[in-house]
């Protein structure tokens, strides 16, 4: 029955996976020990997801072998992976929204008798698992009605229900509140204690240091090394990941806020497809020379607030005053006169991906005298301007100004947008998750740019879901919960835990009173 018990439950040896034009994994070796939490750390595009897709049977490697318990195995598709006890929680959950939680958990692994579903048995098993690991879920709720945190617990239960012993978590904390992250970490440790082996993909150093036993670092598709978590620290991990010393903390002088640039009063924005407001009676001011951050869990009205402020969505009430001008009903172009906007979704709003870099650089400005004569685009001026921005903001691309935006890396696409928006030199910069999905090096750069703009006396309205970013970059924090502002905090005096309580709606300030005092 029992063969040689090797120390490593899964070994991926010398894996090489190529895509046309790029080697995503170049001779990577990863050894997962029984009962350990093994973090896989790397910047975007380092090859983490590709490696996990190879393990999960989604890709076939060109070279290399995978061994389980010392025996070579062939994983041709996810079914093979499941049969070997490998389960994965994807970054974007794979759940059917209109099914109940229970149906989602048993989907694909249903217990049946003569072709009929045996939901009672399944329910008993799921309930037992949920009890044992403290994974609270409502089995009869539809997935579309439950919180993101609970959806993740459903995904975890899916793996447990299939008796998986190797659990892969792909960036599991991106969508969670600090409290939920703590719970997840505890659950992961519990799994490890029971002998399950966990692969934990992340680029958040705090979390990796908190839970993992060992860390494997990848950079640009290459294996850099595997270290024991207790023998290392955040700084050296990030150096390994980026390949050069990086600065983890944002250095900035204390803010010296000036006059209010943006004045929002009783602002409401309707939700798509619902009657209620996604943004409800929001009132705040953003002052020159400060970074005002709107924190909150994704989906609490931040996106709609930005759409309303920038004119992408019509507001349903309240006033917005920008630089003393009422812009509540102004067009997007009129608002653009005093506002630049680093959008949340750089592919949807930020760039025309099939345009070249230079064409994207003048997306708002092509009509300016400088770039056109009698309706004809002044090619030379556009090229010159693009080259200047590329140089000044260090945007890297294959062919300079004539690179097609689609072919650029995410980080450089974002840098291009930031170059364009910052260079428009408007008094207000609305930056929505400006560092989402970017690696440490690019984040460092973008943060320093935003601080520099603040120091030039511009107002920066930052919308962020990353707590580290909120705490380190902002001068003042407003917390949004269910479309309302529930708290105003000073990052120097508050803690991540307190911020988390506001974000989860467990705590709130009486904002009307605060406004009353202000007026």
């Amino acid at each position: 029955m029992r063969t040689m018990e090797s120390e490593n439950i899964i070994e991926m040896l010398h894996i090489t996976k190529e895509f046309p034009g790029i080697i995503a994994n170049d001779d990577i070796t990863l050894q997962l020990r029984r009962g350990e939490i093994h973090a896989l750390l790397g910047e975007n595009g380092a090859g983490k997801s590709t490696l996990m897709s190879v393990l999960f049977g989604l890709y076939q490697p060109e070279k290399g072998v995978i061994k389980k318990n010392g025996q070579e195995v062939k994983i041709n598709n996810p079914n093979d992976a499941t049969a070997l006890g490998i389960g994965m929680v994807h970054q974007h959950f794979k759940l059917i929204e209109v099914f109940t939680v229970l149906d989602n958990i048993i989907l694909g692994a249903e217990t049946t008798k003569m072709g009929f579903l045996q939901k009672k048995e399944a329910r008993a098993k799921v309930e037992a698992l949920s009890e044992r690991y403290g994974l609270k879920v409502d089995l009869d709720a539809k997935v579309e009605d439950i919180t993101v945190g609970m959806q993740q617990r459903v995904e975890i239960l899916k793996m447990l229900y299939r008796d998986n012993e190797i659990l892969i978590f792909d960036e599991p904390t991106a969508v969670l509140t600090p409290q939920e992250i703590d719970e997840l970490m505890a659950t992961m440790k519990e799994f490890a204690k029971e002998g399950k082996s966990i692969l934990f993909i992340s680029h958040k150093l705090n979390e990796i240091m908190a839970v993992s036993d060992r860390v494997t670092v990848l950079r640009k598709g290459k294996y850099i090394g595997t270290v024991d978590a207790k023998d290392t620290d955040k700084q050296s991990l990030s150096n390994m990941m980026v390949g050069r010393p990086v600065q983890l903390e944002v250095t900035k002088k204390p803010a010296s806020p000036g006059e209010p640039v943006l004045d929002v009063k009783g602002f409401c924005v309707p939700a798509r497809g619902h009657k209620r407001n996604a943004v409800n009676e929001v009132t705040f001011q953003a002052r020159a020379g400060e970074i005002l951050c709107i924190a909150g869990i994704d989906g609490n009205g931040q996106t709609e607030l930005v759409y309303g402020l920038t004119g992408l969505e019509k507001s349903s009430g309240g006033t917005v005053t920008l630089c003393g001008e009422d812009i509540s009903h102004a067009s997007i172009r009129q608002r653009g006169g005093n506002m630049s906007h680093i959008p949340e979704d750089r592919h949807k709003h930020g760039l025309v991906l099939d345009f070249t870099l230079e064409q994207n650089m003048v997306l708002q400005r092509f009509n300016e005298k400088r770039f056109q004569t009698a309706g004809f685009i002044n090619q030379g001026a556009v090229r010159e301007y693009a080259e200047q921005l590329i140089e000044q903001y260090d945007v890297r691309s294959g062919q300079g100004p004539i690179t097609v935006a689609r072919s650029m890396s995410g980080g450089n696409q974002q840098k291009a947008i930031i170059a364009r928006e910052v260079d428009r030199e408007k008094p207000l910069i609305v930056a929505v998750q400006p560092t989402r999905g970017l690696d440490v090096g690019a984040i460092e750069y973008i943060h320093s740019q935003l601080v520099a703009e603040r120091d030039k006396g511009r107002a920066v309205l930052l919308i962020s879901l990353e707590l580290d970013e909120v705490m380190s970059l902002s001068d003042r924090i407003l917390v949004m919960y269910e479309g309302e502002i529930v708290g105003e905090l000073d990052p120097k005096q508050t803690t991540v835990q307190e911020l988390g309580l506001y974000m989860a709606g467990a705590k709130r300030m009486d904002m009307t009173k605060k406004e009353g005092e202000g007026a």
Binding site: I22, Q247, F366, I377
Partner: protein
């Protein structure tokens, strides 16, 4: 030299042209197989006829008939070339119409309707204004412009419906096509433009070379008294053909569209809306206005195609259109696809499509094959023109594979952003920032 050749192969444009050529060759090859199979299995044909048929498919444009012994003769055939250019004129313009819409992210399947509306107004103006009232060229110009205007207005309808009611332009286009087809029939049914002079031509509208003229106090249509597009010497170049100055106008319009789309702020806006409507809106570009404008331009081009075809003076319009839509409209789609939406490319693919028509005629005239086989070949090529995108993707991936192999061998002087180089650069820059 070598390097230049490599960069030419890697150019996007080269690959596009290559993909289109491959689709054309495959289409012609499939047609040849068909001709062969039909030839072998028909009693009145044979291998010899099949071989003739296949040669005609590829070289029909250069066929000059048969000599006394019945052998196919080849050479420059001015009549075929001239007719090809003549028939290409409307195709180029409907092709432009479809490609402009494509570039702005819209599928203009409404070209037939716009074409019909252009035909109707052009004929109405050209035949409705008495020849004595205005000089011929002025009537011609008025008729031409009115055709453009009618097409533009008709194209606006799907554009308006799309931008303000968010109804898919394909649906709206299909409906406006049939509205146009019935409207045109109804209009001509009650008009005085139906040909009553030539008995065999009942059901047709007068050629525009007929003019409304007062003879002995009664208004009648007299041949040669109307308007027709100037030949501009092209009839001397291609004797015996129907060609006229319309082809030159079509080419000029194609160049104009190229300039509009690639050199002007308007073209920039239209393309931005087409490639990414959200980003265009984000940048403050009025996406609704641009959708309407793009459809109006597309409609105007279809209308211009119709006007030039009608105003040739030797074309007749069968006015009971309520049962069928003009092929020129739909054929604009493969013309645009084969040209990969390049306005200049459309000139060539438009000529190619009309060449297939000529080939069909030659095949019917010179062999026992019937004309429908060329329709099959045309449809295969039309089908493959949509396929040219797939072929292009295949070419792309092949080129990338090759690029990968070549990359380590390629010397780095002209590509300083090799992995190692960029690493070094990033370290330096990082140091500066820190």
């Amino acid at each position: 030299m070598n390097k230049q050749g490599g960069s030419l192969l890697q150019k996007e444009g080269t690959r596009t042209v290559l993909a289109s050529l491959i689709s054309i060759v495959i289409g012609l090859a499939v047609g040849s197989v068909l001709v062969l199979v039909v030839g072998l299995f028909s009693s009145n044909l044979g291998l010899a006829s099949a071989w003739e048929g296949i040669r005609l498919i590829f070289l029909g444009l250069f066929s000059t008939g048969r000599d006394q012994v019945g052998v196919l003769t080849w050479g420059f055939n001015p009549r075929s070339v001239g007719n090809m250019l003549f028939r290409a004129t409307p195709l180029i313009l409907t092709g432009l119409s479809v490609s402009v819409a494509f570039k702005t992210g819209l599928f203009n399947i409404g070209a037939p309707g716009q074409y019909l509306m252009g035909t109707m107004t052009t004929l109405a103006i050209a035949l409705g204004i008495p020849s004595s009232a205005l000089p011929g060229p002025v009537i011609w110009l008025l008729a031409f412009l009115s055709g453009i205007l009618a097409g533009a207005l008709w194209g606006c309808i799907p554009g308006l419906v799309k931008s303000f009611l968010n109804i898919n332009e394909v649906l709206a286009c299909i409906m406006t096509n049939w509205m146009a087809a019935n409207l045109v029939t109804w209009f001509f049914d009650g008009s005085k433009f139906c040909n009553t002079v030539e008995n065999t031509k009942s059901g047709y509208i007068y050629k525009t070379s007929y003019g409304l003229t007062q003879v002995d106090g009664a208004w009648t249509y007299v041949d040669g008294n109307g308007v027709q597009t100037a030949k501009l010497g092209l009839d001397k170049l291609f004797p015996g053909s129907q060609v006229n100055g319309g082809i030159l106008i079509a080419i000029l319009i194609a160049i104009g569209i190229y300039i509009l789309m690639s050199k002007t702020t308007l073209g920039y806006q239209l393309k931005a809306c087409g490639s990414n409507r959200h980003a265009a809106r984000y940048a403050g570009i009025n996406d609704k206005r641009n959708i309407v404008l793009s459809m109006a331009i597309a409609g105007a081009l279809s209308g211009a195609g119709a006007a030039l075809y009608c105003l040739a003076g030797n074309t007749e319009f069968f006015w009971s259109t309520y049962q069928s839509l003009p092929a020129e409209g739909f054929n604009g789609i493969p013309v645009a696809l084969l040209a990969a939406n390049s306005p200049i490319g459309v000139v060539f693919t438009g000529c190619f499509m009309s060449m297939l028509n000529i080939v069909g005629l030659q095949l019917t005239n010179l062999t026992a094959y019937n004309e429908y086989i060329t329709d099959v070949i045309i449809s295969v090529i039309v089908y493959l023109s949509a396929f040219s995108l797939v072929i292009k993707m295949m070419l792309n991936s092949r080129k990338k594979d090759k690029g990968l192999d070549a990359a380590p061998g390629a010397p780095s002087p002209d590509s300083p952003s090799e992995p190692d180089g960029s690493d070094a650069v990033s370290t330096e820059k990082g140091g500066e920032q820190a």
